[in-house]
């Protein structure tokens, strides 16, 4: 009897261990960094557990409302995926997915009340921020499909379709009647906004996971081959006299500031480049050895702000590249790291940590000063 009890004890222990390990395998806390958007005096942050859209007053950090799609089955199970919020035409747009519920789509909601206006089902996760232009919102999915939605009707534009070869993790860019879509299949696609038909495509040496940055007829596009590619918007040809190579992937958007480009790379450096040639203008700023930079740089006044994966917010003088003041840092742990690009609005800089905590900084006497911090709702 005792032996039989032991056997069953061991069996139950094994099953418990198995369940525990299986749970470890199935449910990571997050597989994408949280979105952060500031528009119309409101900060839109993806935060909390379960994640939802928090709307905060941009001056005080006071919570104004939340948005969470209604589930067809009552509650969502497993991991949730959100894109950053995009605001246009007095409507906020966000991609949301719950793979366990086989539920994914683009949601439009009222920024004042958090009430859902309409939803468009999608074939997969929407990880990059949708882009809004002239009554149409465009977004790509992890299946590589690009959608165009008429925001007034809350319906797909008839006859509009495009399919890339791999996932779309970078936001599209609209300039006039052209839509530029970076894709993980190494191509930057130029589409006709009216039909979705391909106008041209440019092939890079690696995946493209960031929105291209436009300047004077050129698109600057970082890639996983470690390069920044300068592509002519009209022809899709690479500018022959531009060349830049980092030591690791360039996953972030290029910051264009006149004749200068600021580029962050997963090699942990901020590069200042000549926009015409790609030549490095001053010594690159390097974060600590075990740290790296996914977030794109942001500019406020003369300061260039970078945020590192270990949670440091660093302000540098845009001309000299010298650090201005002490770096702001949370505890430096991975969960408090920053992978989302800081957002500049007026005299304020906002950052969101991987744990969903939002921090606001203000430029005072040419230095960054922290003004308030909105803790992750999960930690409250």
């Amino acid at each position: 009897m005792i032996k039989s009890g032991r056997v069953w004890g061991a069996a139950v222990a094994l099953l418990l261990l198995g369940s525990l390990l299986s749970a470890c395998g199935g449910a990571l806390p997050a597989e994408n960094w949280p979105g952060l958007t500031v528009a119309g005096g409101v900060v839109y942050a993806i935060s909390g557990s379960p994640q939802q859209v928090y709307m905060l007053d941009a001056e005080t950090g006071t919570q104004k409302g939340t948005f969470m799609p209604a589930s067809p089955t009552g509650t969502f199970k497993g991991q949730l995926y959100w894109s950053p919020v995009t605001v246009g035409d007095e409507t906020a747009f966000v991609g949301f997915a719950s793979p366990s519920d086989k539920f994914a789509g683009l949601f439009a909601f009222d920024p004042a009340t958090g009430q859902e206006k309409w939803r468009i089902p999608a074939d997969n996760l929407i990880l990059a921020a949708p882009v809004y232009a002239d009554g149409t919102v465009y977004f790509g999915t992890s299946s590589g499909r690009v959608y165009a939605v008429d925001t007034a009707a809350g319906a797909l534009k008839p006859g509009w379709s495009f399919q890339a070869g791999e996932a779309i993790w970078g936001s599209p860019l609209v300039i006039g009647e052209r839509l530029y879509v970076p894709a993980m299949d190494h191509y930057l696609y130029c589409l006709d906004t009216k039909t979705g038909q391909e106008v041209w495509k440019f092939k890079a040496g690696g995946s493209l996971a960031a929105q291209p940055s436009p300047s004077d007829g050129t698109l600057y596009q970082g890639a996983f081959d470690g390069k920044v590619h300068a592509v002519e918007t009209g022809s899709g040809q690479q500018a022959s006299d531009f060349e830049f190579q980092a030591q690791n992937w360039v996953w972030s958007e290029v910051l264009v500031d006149g004749a200068r480009l600021y580029v962050t790379s997963l090699d942990g450096k901020l590069y200042t480049l000549d926009a015409a040639t790609g030549k490095v203008l001053s010594n690159a700023y390097q974060v600590q050895a075990d740290d790296y930079i996914r977030a794109a740089p942001a500019k406020i006044g003369d300061l260039v702000i970078i945020a590192s994966a270990n949670g440091q917010v660093i302000a540098l003088n845009g001309q000299s590249g010298q650090v201005a003041g002490s770096p702001w840092t949370d505890s430096g742990t991975v969960v408090n790291g920053i992978l989302t690009t800081p957002v500049v609005s007026g005299e304020w800089v906002y950052v969101i940590l991987l744990n969903g905590k939002v921090q606001a900084f203000e430029v005072i006497n040419g230095l960054l000063a922290q003004r308030w911090s909105f803790p992750s709702p999960a930690s409250q």
Binding site: K3, R6, V7, A10, A11, L14, L15, L17, G18, S19, L21, S22, G25, G26, L28, A30, E31, N32, W33, P99, L127, S142, E166, A167, W169, M184, G205, G206, S207, A209, F224, D225, G226, N248, W249, W251, L266, D290, Y292, R294, A309, L339
Partner: protein, 310 residues
């Protein structure tokens, strides 16, 4: 450096980079990289695995002697245990010899699971991990191929069968089956030692079930590793202790199905097989523990009788 950093440096990075190198050498086929990687890992683990497999053979060979001890000291459990230990020591066998390779393999499983997730990452944080864990020279070579080819027979190697559904549910079943078959080939014949019988029973049934359950909820690439690793284990064990254990269906009948699965089984058949020194199920040893090795009634029948007596 914290424990996560040490794990990354010692386990994850070497495994991830080995897989990536194999991927680039094998025509950008990740499934092929996993199979070759498994063969290499099994090769490296031979000094650990071979003694375990030989020990299993020794345990099988000792069964007639253990049975004699059971007859002799069956009622004196303390003496029985002493004599068993003496016998094991003299023969150089250990009933616990299977634990060490199992423990050593655990970091490999975790490392491989993480390597597959990062190499074939279809979420941003996974690919970020890849970018930070690739060795310099490989980074240039592999970066141009990201996202890597993660498909095998139309199945995404980075996604769990529980998510993919359909025919991928066969993978956990195959993992459990090959592991069960391997365990059966290694298990001692039905017989004398009730303690090792209990342990064998757990190992033969619970471990395959547990790994089948794991495989359901981990990437299919990891299932591929388990299946290939188990097949290599079966082949190696076959060369060491013979191939009779593979003929599991020969013992199959409604009467002894419980025995095949590790549960109670008619005592006579177990006794006669053990006498011939054949490899068979571990389950019938519960009969031996009760000291009723010569009966013909099944464990279920005896349980019914006991209940009636109560």
């Amino acid at each position: 450096m914290d424990i996560g950093g040490i794990f990354n440096t010692v386990i994850l990075q070497p495994m991830l980079n080995a897989l990536l190198w194999l991927y680039s050498m094998l025509g950008n086929q990740f499934w092929l990289a996993i199979i070759v990687f498994t063969i290499l890992i099994r090769g490296l683990m031979t000094p650990l695995m071979l003694p375990q497999q030989r020990a299993a053979k020794k345990m099988q060979d000792l069964q007639p002697q253990l049975k004699e001890l059971q007859k002799k000291y069956g009622k004196d459990r303390e003496r029985m245990a002493q004599e068993q230990m003496k016998l094991y020591k003299e023969a150089g066998a250990s009933p616990m010899s299977g634990c060490l390779p199992m423990l050593v393999q655990m970091p490999i499983w975790i490392g491989l699971w993480q390597s597959i997730n990062q190499a074939l990452g279809h979420q941003p944080l996974q690919l970020l991990g890849l970018s930070q864990n690739m060795y310099g020279p490989l980074r240039q070579m592999i970066s141009a191929d990201v996202p890597l080819n993660r498909f095998f027979l139309g199945m995404d190697l980075s996604v769990e069968p529980s998510v993919l559904g359909g025919l991928t549910y066969l993978l956990p079943i195959l993992v459990a089956f090959t592991m069960w078959l391997q365990s059966k080939m290694m298990a001692s014949p039905a017989g004398a030692d009730p303690q090792s019988a209990s342990m064998n029973q757990s190992m033969t049934v619970m471990m395959p079930l547990m790994f089948g359950f794991f495989s359901l909820n981990f990437s299919t690439g990891l299932s591929l590793y388990f299946i290939v690793s188990n097949i290599i284990g079966i082949i190696t064990q076959g060369f060491i202790s013979g191939w009779k254990g593979l003929l599991f269906w020969k013992n199959m009948s409604l009467g002894n199905l419980g025995g095949l699965l590790g549960g109670p089984r008619p005592a006579q058949s177990s006794n006669s097989r053990a006498g011939r020194g054949e490899t068979s199920s571990t389950g019938a040893t519960s009969d031996a523990a009760e000291g009723k090795v010569g009966g013909t009634e099944s464990g279920v029948q005896r349980k019914k009788k006991r209940r009636r007596k109560r």
